[in-house]
Subunit: 199 residues, 4 copies
DNA sequence: GATGAATGAGTGTTCATTCAT
DNA sequence: CATGAATGAACACTCATTCAT
């Protein structure tokens, strides 16, 4: 009941509870802006898109990397969590493939995530750290299972694969739709090729 | 009258020849700066490194993309030319592999080339255009030969492969040395995997 | 009804007494912050140091000058009071000298007091007003006594002397320890010089 | 002849030669702004007052301290140079007194000079450095001569005296005109007092 | 009364680009 | 042709102050 907000009041301002609401708009806006203009987009743009003052952005996220991380954290979590489900429901290679495609969607639909992963600026390092910490174990288990089953080669580094696929997700001009998918599939085939050569 | 150059002035500068000299220093400087600070480096830095005025940069290259293109043109040409030599000296798959590694070096050692290829800014499109125009045919012939020999699959788009490998050349943090090489090799194995599966 | 405080709430906070407690922490915190970062220090720093909300600072001291004044009021009072004691216990010139040194300590140890005295901002004028109102009479009596005793010249304006010494208390870089003391002593000697010349 | 600027041309823009003109307006404007609002005045204000773009300020003076130094350099030089003239034309104590008053004018009329001397910000250190480097020797010679003549005491540190007088030049509210002069004279008398006491 | 979230004006600083010499 | 001075838009970030809870 406490969450039922009277109509009129809701249209006004709603401060205290709006801290959360603001935070949400902020994350929403940032996600959109990052997708459009990359993670280097002006703070002002994010703020105005969210309908809040600039300082509000700084209040919630003193460092830009914290905002970036916050924006992608949930999606990274969801993607990592998907690994267990896929492992339960499919045989190893199928699970691996599906997850890699899932991962591909994560990166490909978030312009800016890929960019922030490659940023040399130390300010941004919170993002790749979180990224690695959560996604590497997810891939690790799937890759290990598929390798154990002799379906893919054993000598591929998990994190490198993650980053390699991440790079392939960077949008490229003048290529047809499905380019990323095809490249990722090619890489996956590369994983299988090795499995045959060294059983 | 306009062409009459006062004696004294003529002894100071040698206009015609200096134009070329300036252009050369400019390309040299730009290459170095691009390698160090990326293609977004301040124009001023390039100009001062070349020992010329800023306006001179703009005279020769009104658009930044033209400078970038000019900087990489020669290297792109050389890489493209290598294809023919390799085709003559090695059997198809070997030639293809060697050339892809050659191409990898081209991209990997030119910080900024890869970036400018992916730039969304329409200003930069001269670079990918030149890039595609010269390198696609080179890879096309090698890829076609290897495919004809049944060594690699036939269904891979040349330009996409070019861009895919290009993306894999983007430097990535927290990976060991040789990361790019390993990823490219994985992709090449992907090419072979298909060949076996569908001979 | 307004005064009826629900039990639970009453156990959490003790409103009436806390008002004073807050005020005290505020003054304490402000004194510390002023000493460290000058009187221009961010309000937020004072608030957080005092463990209260920002708005609480504004409630008690809508104008920054009022806070400054409140911070230094007690010390100004104590210094002023010292004059009478010194006058009782020492002969005129000795009492004067001792008090001026006492006054020097007051200013010198309160970074920001001196600054706020010289502020052009009309917002700050409450401080010099209080300052003058209390300290000028104190010095006046000591100076008058010493002058009457022929130990110092008669033609020096009390308030000017107060401010002159105040200025000498401003910390200065690249001078040895004891600089302020030496300068103030020099000024005091100036007071005596006149006495001899015009007895 | 080269300096004769055609009227019409002069009224237009005059770029190359105007570099100097701009620099002059800049110094002029900065001096005025420093006098009005202190050396912390917004760069924008100086720029607009000088009628130039902001970046022009930064071109000439990348560091604010450089601008401050440039603004006061000439006046410091002139003041330092005056010492020799005074020493030639007056007997030691008279020369010393006159120079100290000259020095007082330098500081007192340049609101902001005094301030920048006391700045803790390391950015500003160029100013006190230049200040000390030039004015300390000037005072040193005058002070030494007067001390040798037994007219002032010997145990006063030159630089401390310089800074002490500098502090006395800080404008103070609610004092009558001539306050600084009176305080400085009092300090000078302090110098003489010691001379009598210890000949 | 107390809170702290929100605000937005203000400031330093960088950089691409133009233009008179 | 080359020069580099000048420009001003753009951006990050801080902080005093207000206001709904």
């Amino acid at each position: 009941m406490r969450n039922v907000v009277p109509f009129v009041k809701a249209m006004k301002k709603t401060p205290r509870a709006d801290a959360q609401r603001n935070l949400d708009s902020l994350l929403e806006a940032a996600k959109a802006v990052f997708a459009e203009s990359g993670v280097d987009a002006p703070v002002r743009e994010i703020a105005s898109r969210a309908g809040v003052g600039i300082a509000t952005v700084y209040r919630h996220f003193p460092q830009r990397a914290e905002l970036i991380a916050a924006v992608y954290r949930r999606e990274i979590d969801a993607c990592a969590a998907a690994a267990q489900v896929l492992a339960r429901e499919h045989e190893p290679f199928e699970a691996l493939t599906r997850w890699l495609h899932r991962f591909t969607s994560l990166i490909a639909t978030k312009r800016g995530l890929a960019a922030s992963l490659n940023a040399q600026d130390p300010t941004y390092q919170a993002v790749p750290a979180y990224f690695r910490e959560h996604l590497e174990p997810a891939l690790q288990s799937l890759l290990g299972a598929a390798a154990a089953a002799g379906q893919v080669r054993k000598d591929v580094d998990t994190y490198e694969l993650l980053r390699g696929i991440g790079s392939l997700c960077i949008p490229v001009s003048e290529v047809g739709p499905g380019y990323t998918r095809r490249m990722v599939d090619l890489l996956i085939d590369g994983l299988r090729y090795g499995a045959r050569a060294a059983p």
